[in-house]
């Protein structure tokens, strides 16, 4: 069945490229994973590039999801039908670094004379996509980080006008709100990105040994022994007290939907949803965003970047690479940073982009109120070993293991600590397996 799919993808790619040969401009393929509104915006961005071009044309093909973009690229690479440029999400970074199938961004920029000042990227973003030696192998594109979304009216019921800064204060507020008649203080799902990854970064806690995996493929997960375990036990308590609620698509409403229709007073979500919340909030919903709360005994550190970066693939013609280089140049201009961050709620990836947006009054616009907090959060401290990023093999699968165990714990089938220990043990098996599959290779 797998080969049938690979064949089908290859056939689709063939059809796609042969139909597009009539015109004069040099074409190259650019695959992306974003879907829905965000996918449409990317398509527009692609069109902006093509309109500004005489010589090259990017053929942008949506793959129907981040994970699909990665899977399809791998399948296409195996049958030598892969695109020149592909958008790969944060969790796929390790696979691409070890693949031998990519053209490292720093080398590519040098070979095709793209003038990029690598130190211009926000360190929190650059480090996530850089090798352990600090070389960038992909071009950061759509980037985000997590924020607390809070309903000001719900907080007003307990006489507060400010978002909570510590986790203790937040939980305290939630319990008071319950007493004041707020039906759902906090809605969460099983996504590990907010509670595990972002939480560990801002508390400067390790998720795995070897500097979260940057130091080598033999890293081991340790999240079950850190404050994260207490955090999850606290969530479970909130759930049992009826203060918090689980909101997934299967329940009927995602966390964002439960926030925009006013059901849940707070949720943790990506800044990328800032625009979505703004445009889908029920009329009169009085809301704001704040940086993720931190336990009061901890010093706040920078949060992690989420989103995706653009990878250049091996094995393409010189002309296609020139096209890709033109695309990278185009995307890195401050004007495009402004356009892209206005169209959706992703943050600018470079300091120049951020300054340019500031100068143009982007952050003064009430529609964008609070989005600057994402930059504040991301640059709060210089990245430490724990807040630099996560470089673990097969991280998608590790997320899935943790998710399953969290499901078991939150639905009361297992004790939280037992579940987390089990998740760590199973994730370690995944890492050992990954190490074996990539025997003889070392992380760059």
């Amino acid at each position: 069945m797998k080969n049938a799919i690979i064949a089908a993808v290859a056939a689709a790619a063939l059809l796609g490229s042969s139909g597009a040969e009539a015109q004069q401009r040099i074409k190259f393929e650019y695959w992306y994973g974003l879907t829905g509104q965000l996918g449409e915006i990317l398509e527009q961005h692609c069109k902006r590039f093509n309109d500004a071009q005489q010589k090259f044309e990017a053929v942008c093909v949506g793959q129907g999801g981040y994970d699909k973009a990665e899977q399809n690229t791998i399948a296409a690479y195996r049958s030598k039908q892969h695109p020149t440029v592909v958008q790969i999400y944060d969790a796929g970074t390790v696979n691409f670094m070890l693949s031998g199938a990519i053209y490292p961004a720093n080398q590519f920029a040098k070979d095709f004379s793209i003038d990029i000042d690598w130190s211009n990227y926000f360190p929190g973003i650059a480090n996530y996509y850089a090798t352990s030696k600090g070389e960038m192998w992909s071009f950061p594109y759509n980037s985000s980080t997590a924020l607390l979304y809070w309903n000001k009216d719900a907080w007003a019921k307990i006489g507060k006008t400010k978002a909570p800064e510590t986790i203790e204060e937040w939980f305290d507020d939630l319990r008071k709100m319950k007493a004041a008649g707020v039906e759902c203080g906090f809605g969460f799902d099983y996504d590990t990105w907010m509670p595990l990854e972002q939480f560990s970064a801002i508390h400067n806690l390790p998720i795995a040994t070897k500097a979260n995996g940057y130091g080598g493929l033999d890293a081991e997960l340790v999240f079950n022994k850190t404050k994260f375990a207490d955090y999850m036990k606290d969530w479970k308590k909130l759930l049992d007290e009826g203060v918090a609620r689980i909101q997934t698509a299967q329940v009927g409403k995602t966390i964002v939907q439960s926030f925009t229709d006013g059901t849940c007073a707070s949720v943790l979500s990506s800044v990328a949803n800032h625009g979505v919340v703004g445009s889908t909030a029920k009329p009169g919903l009085n809301w704001g965003v704040a940086m993720l709360p931190v336990y009061k005994d901890f010093k706040r550190h920078n949060s992690l970047v989420g989103g995706a970066s653009l990878w250049v693939m091996q094995g393409k013609s010189r002309q296609e690479y020139e096209g890709a280089a033109a695309l990278m140049k185009f995307l890195s201009t401050p004007e495009e940073a402004l356009w892209y961050s206005t169209a959706n709620a992703y943050i600018p990836v470079t300091k120049t982009g951020f300054d340019f947006m500031n100068k143009n009054g982007f952050y003064q616009d009430p529609k964008h109120a609070g989005r600057e907090l994402a930059i504040t959060s991301l640059t709060f401290t210089p990245p430490t070993e724990n807040s630099r990023g996560i470089r673990l093999g097969n991280f998608t699968q590790i997320r899935a293991e943790i998710r399953s165990e969290l499901e078991a714990a939150f639905t009361g089938k297992k004790d939280m600590q037992v579940a987390l220990d089990e998740a760590a043990a199973r994730s370690n098996q995944i890492l050992r397996r990954f190490e074996q599959t990539f025997k003889g290779k070392t992380l760059p």
């Binding site: 791998i74 997934t248 299967q250 329940v251 899935a400 199973r426 025997k439």
Partner: protein
């Protein structure tokens, strides 16, 4: 005596079946052979350096509690959804065969669900059975917390069994109806004149004559629930909550395509293929003996 037509020229016969053989080879034997090879090696996502590891992949699968959970769930799912879909289809077919009111319309629309793609079925069931926003959420108004497939594994399993059965009922119905209608009317009429009631006629005349169809559908339904339930699971439950609906075929998908561990997925598909072969063998060996054709 049966009359057989035979090709005198074997080359012509060969040429005629060649395209079909080629298709089977390219889309079944070749990938299957490839999967066997992958199952005994470690295969990096981007291809290239396979390393021979013998039975290690299988050892890892069989010592994994989570894998056994998914085997258990798969058998439960196959048993329940086969029983439900074959049972309901038989009932519907008997009703339509008896020409109850509206049978013409029913005969026509009962088949529709089978024409709906599995992911669409999944999506519809997800919306209808969503515990907070769905149509069925009404039951939670009467008994709070009664129905919640997002939190309760049993509810989630019930949901995918319902969705899969709803789709398969349509298919089974057509076969049962065709079989019922091929039973000579005089047999039924004679029984009726002898005073046999509806149930008696069904038990003594129709059911025995339906045995071959029943057996055929049993094999098809069991096989389908093992290998073709991916779309529904992916859309409705995603294997959750806490792996309560993590069918073998879904685990292959998540390990192989999401986890990019092609070797482990290949080893699992070999096991799944083995299970289906064994089940089909058992059905032919032990169930078919009780079936009388013609």
């Amino acid at each position: 005596m049966e009359k057989r037509a035979a090709f005198s020229d074997l080359r012509l016969a060969g040429a005629l079946i060649a395209p079909q053989l080629l298709l089977v080879f390219v889309f079944f034997y070749w990938p299957a052979a490839q999967a066997v090879y992958w199952a005994f090696t470690t295969q990096p996502p981007f291809g290239g350096s396979n390393e021979w590891v013998g039975f290690q992949n299988f050892e890892q699968i069989f010592t994994d509690r989570v894998y056994w959970n998914s085997v258990g769930v798969s058998f439960l799912f196959a048993g329940l959804s086969t029983a439900l879909s074959v049972g309901m289809a038989l009932l519907f077919a008997l009703f339509v065969d008896r020409r109850l009111t509206g049978y013409r319309v029913h005969r026509f629309i009962y088949f529709w669900p089978y024409a709906v793609a599995a992911p669409a079925v999944g999506l519809a069931f997800r919306f209808i059975f969503a515990p907070e926003a769905g149509f069925v959420s009404a039951v939670n108004q009467w008994v709070p917390g009664l129905w919640n497939p997002a939190l309760d594994g049993k509810d989630a399993l019930a949901l995918i069994v319902l969705a899969n059965s709803w789709k398969m009922v349509a298919y089974n119905f057509i076969f049962f109806l065709a079989a019922l209608q091929s039973i000579p009317r005089p047999l039924i009429e004679a029984a009726a004149m002898d005073g046999a009631g509806v149930l008696r006629r069904a038990r003594d005349i129709q059911f025995p004559l339906l045995a071959p169809t029943f057996f055929f559908l049993l094999v098809i339904n069991v096989t389908e629930s093992f290998v073709d339930s991916f779309g529904i699971v992916d859309i409705t439950t995603g294997g959750g909550p806490a792996r309560a609906t993590d069918l073998m075929v879904y685990k292959i998908y998540s390990d192989g395509f999401k986890g990019l561990d092609y070797s482990m997925a290949a080893a699992q598909s070999i096991v799944l293929m083995g299970v289906v072969i064994v089940l089909t063998f058992i059905q032919f060996r032990y169930v078919e003996r009780r079936v009388h054709y013609s």
